[in-house]
């Protein structure tokens, strides 16, 4: 896309994103808000998978760190949201870096096992009633009010929507900028040719840990926002199935582009809602997501949004459009333990 076309597209998107929800009902607006928050979680996967080539099935565990930090500190210790939120993001980033340590030696296949184990560990141990009630709230949930921002109380749904939209835009812009700048080149170099990257003097350890920490921090931020958006934090929403679902949606949309984060988030929120509207149980949603994931991996390996963007670029006659990075799974991750070589004695 030419610069002009891109500017016009961005302007249209911005006008629609700010103006359209003003005309919606409170309920639809809060759905749109949650969609953007889920979009942040998808964005955290775009950062990790699309740019570094690592996959994670425990993004909701990182989100839980943010959400429960805010929940416990605000509800039980009467902290300000603005103090608890950074702490939650930092905590999530720290946990992310810890999960990233084994990933330094384990790229690819075996990391998936680890991340599922992490999700299960959070799901069934850390957040289980009785283990750490002053963090998880035990059997009850934390009740959190909406904060004020620059003197404006974010109590109405439209104000809060605009606030979340701002946060989402800033984060998307940040990730998009990463990709274009030096950071993006370094991360792509690591993704595409690890050994070559290290010979160029790139500190693999630091960059990989930073990518994990940043991704987990984004998920933690989403968790913190979700806490004040819903108004309560309870353990049900942060389990393994949610983590698998968001990874599936991110892959279906395409982890190569920032746009798929917004699309993925809205899909996660509106999908069940549309199903309910046409009289189908929203339980069907995960079945549809799983089915879409299977079909998409076989039919359009790069993901639907990425695929659509490329077609759009072709349509606009910009043939030299940079190839979008491959999808999560398409990223060739070199195994430390060979899968099918005859090296075993």
């Amino acid at each position: 896309m030419s610069t002009k076309a891109r500017r016009i597209t961005l302007l249209v998107v911005a006008v629609v994103a700010v103006g359209w929800p003003a005309m919606l009902s409170d309920f639809s607006r809060s759905l749109a808000t949650d969609g953007l928050i889920f979009g942040l979680i998808v964005l955290s996967l775009v950062l990790l998978t699309g740019f570094v080539g690592q996959i994670s099935f425990c993004q909701y565990s990182f989100a839980a760190v943010g959400a429960f930090t805010v929940g416990s500190l605000v509800a039980a210790h009467h902290w300000s949201f603005w103090l608890a939120m950074p702490l939650g993001v930092f905590g999530a980033a720290l946990v992310g870096a810890l999960v990233g340590i084994p990933a330094l030696r384990l790229s690819g296949l075996f990391l998936t096992i680890l991340t599922v184990a992490v999700a299960l560990f959070f799901d069934r141990f850390v957040l289980a009633p009785g283990t750490w009630n002053s963090f998880s709230g035990g059997l009850s949930s934390w009740v959190v009010g909406r904060p004020s921002f620059l003197g404006i109380h974010l109590d109405t749904s439209y104000r809060f929507y605009l606030f979340v939209l701002g946060v989402f835009s800033l984060c998307s812009l940040g990730v998009w900028n990463f990709r274009r700048g030096k950071t993006g080149r370094v991360l792509r170099a690591i993704r595409d040719a690890e050994i070559a990257a290290s010979t160029l003097g790139i500190n693999l350890t630091a960059w990989k840990l930073a990518a994990f920490a940043a991704s987990a921090g984004l998920a933690g931020l989403a968790g913190a926002l979700l806490a004040v958006s819903i108004g309560s934090v309870s353990t049900g929403g942060y389990d393994l199935i949610h983590s698998l679902g968001v990874a599936a949606v991110a892959t279906v949309m395409g982890v190569g582009s920032v746009a798929s984060a917004a699309a993925g988030g809205l899909f996660l929120v509106w999908g069940p809602e549309i199903l309910r509207h046409i009289g189908v149980s929203s339980q069907w949603f995960n079945l549809i997501t799983g089915g879409l994931l299977i079909v998409q991996l076989i039919v359009t390996p790069d993901g639907m949004v990425t695929d659509f963007q490329r077609k759009l670029k072709h349509l606009l006659g910009h043939r030299a459009a940079r190839q979008a990075p491959a999808s999560a799974a398409e990223v060739d991750v070199r195994e430390r333990v060979p899968v099918r070589t005859g090296a075993r004695s």
Binding site: F110, L114, T131, L244, S345
Partner: protein
């Protein structure tokens, strides 16, 4: 509210817990052997393994508990369902991905996990607990010299698990299909040159592996909560056992299964926290990934 940790150590519980741990371990070993078989032959880490076990077990539940057929009929139905699901996954979604990175195939199995998990929830209800399929009576006998009662169902579970694990070892070692499977596991291209139908052998490994998952599912339901989620996450326990066998050695995988079963059970002597089993699992996953999967680490002999 603090953590409700029972700090009193009660040695009288130990023998009973050993029995429970061994029974659980047998089931994990069985599921893990199926997982390793699939991984070795097709190169796919099958995250849907637990979901396949869950779905197959629910068909057994439908036949035996709901419709009232004998337990062994239900188990047979589960085995057939498991094998059919394994075949469907391989034939419909793994085979078309030939030549694509291993991670793609892993993500496909995540898709199957979501599909099977949700489908089972829609058919049988996702939150409620279900009555387990019983193959034998719950009566038991006293272990000589102790006051520990071993249930016939517990004994059956361990025996069936071991018999199936040994049967797979025999299959791999003494049959033509087993030889073909080992050949494909070692090098599919060379195997193809020798006239082995790699597709057929791969499909067979998925069917056998998934059938083992189904048996494990039927056997484990009297021991753990019988709902869609609890059985689906058994895949992580199977992976842990398989990791102890470095995803290649079947004997070590069986050892890993028993080790995990005991390691999950013993902490309950000290702590009543519900999540202790998952804490132990997580620690074992970290340990095995950290220690056994060192780059350039010692290779373990196959089968």
């Amino acid at each position: 509210m603090g953590a409700h940790v029972v700090l009193g150590y009660n040695p009288q519980l130990l023998p009973g817990f050993t029995v429970i741990g061994i029974v659980l371990g047998g089931v994990y070993a069985l599921a893990a052997v199926g997982l390793v078989l699939i991984y070795r032959v097709s190169g796919v880490l099958n995250f849907a393994h637990g979901a396949v076990a869950m779905f197959a077990t629910f068909t057994a539940y439908e036949v035996s508990t709901v419709k009232g057929a004998p337990g062994w009929v239900g188990a047979l139905v589960a085995i057939v369902t498991g094998a059919a699901l394994g075949f469907a996954i391989e034939w419909l979604t793994i085979r078309p991905l030939h030549g694509r990175p291993a991670l793609v195939k892993v993500v496909v199995t995540i898709g199957w996990l979501l599909v099977l998990q949700t489908a089972a929830g829609l058919i049988w209800g996702s939150t409620s607990y279900h009555q387990a399929v019983r193959l034998v009576s719950k009566n038991g006998f006293h272990l000589v010299g102790t006051d520990v009662t071993v249930g016939y169902d517990q004994l059956t579970t361990v025996v069936v698990a071991l018999v199936f694990a040994l049967a797979v070892a025999a299959l791999l070692r003494y049959t033509t299909l087993g030889n073909a499977m080992r050949a494909v596991a070692d090098n599919p291209d060379t195997a193809r040159l020798w006239g082995i139908s790699v597709n057929r052998v791969t499909a067979a490994s998925w069917m056998v592996g998934s059938a083992m998952a189904a048996v494990a599912g039927v056997l484990i339901t009297p021991l753990i909560a019988f709902d869609t989620f609890s059985l689906t996450v058994v895949v992580i326990y199977a992976f842990t056992a398989a990791l102890i066998g470095r995803l290649s050695s079947l004997p070590m995988t069986v050892v890993g299964g028993f080790l995990l079963g005991l390691a999950q059970t013993y902490p309950r002597v000290f702590s009543s926290l519900s999540g202790t089993a998952d804490l132990v699992t997580f620690a074992l996953v970290l340990l095995t990934l950290g220690v056994l999967f060192r780059p350039g680490g010692r290779k373990v002999r196959v089968v």
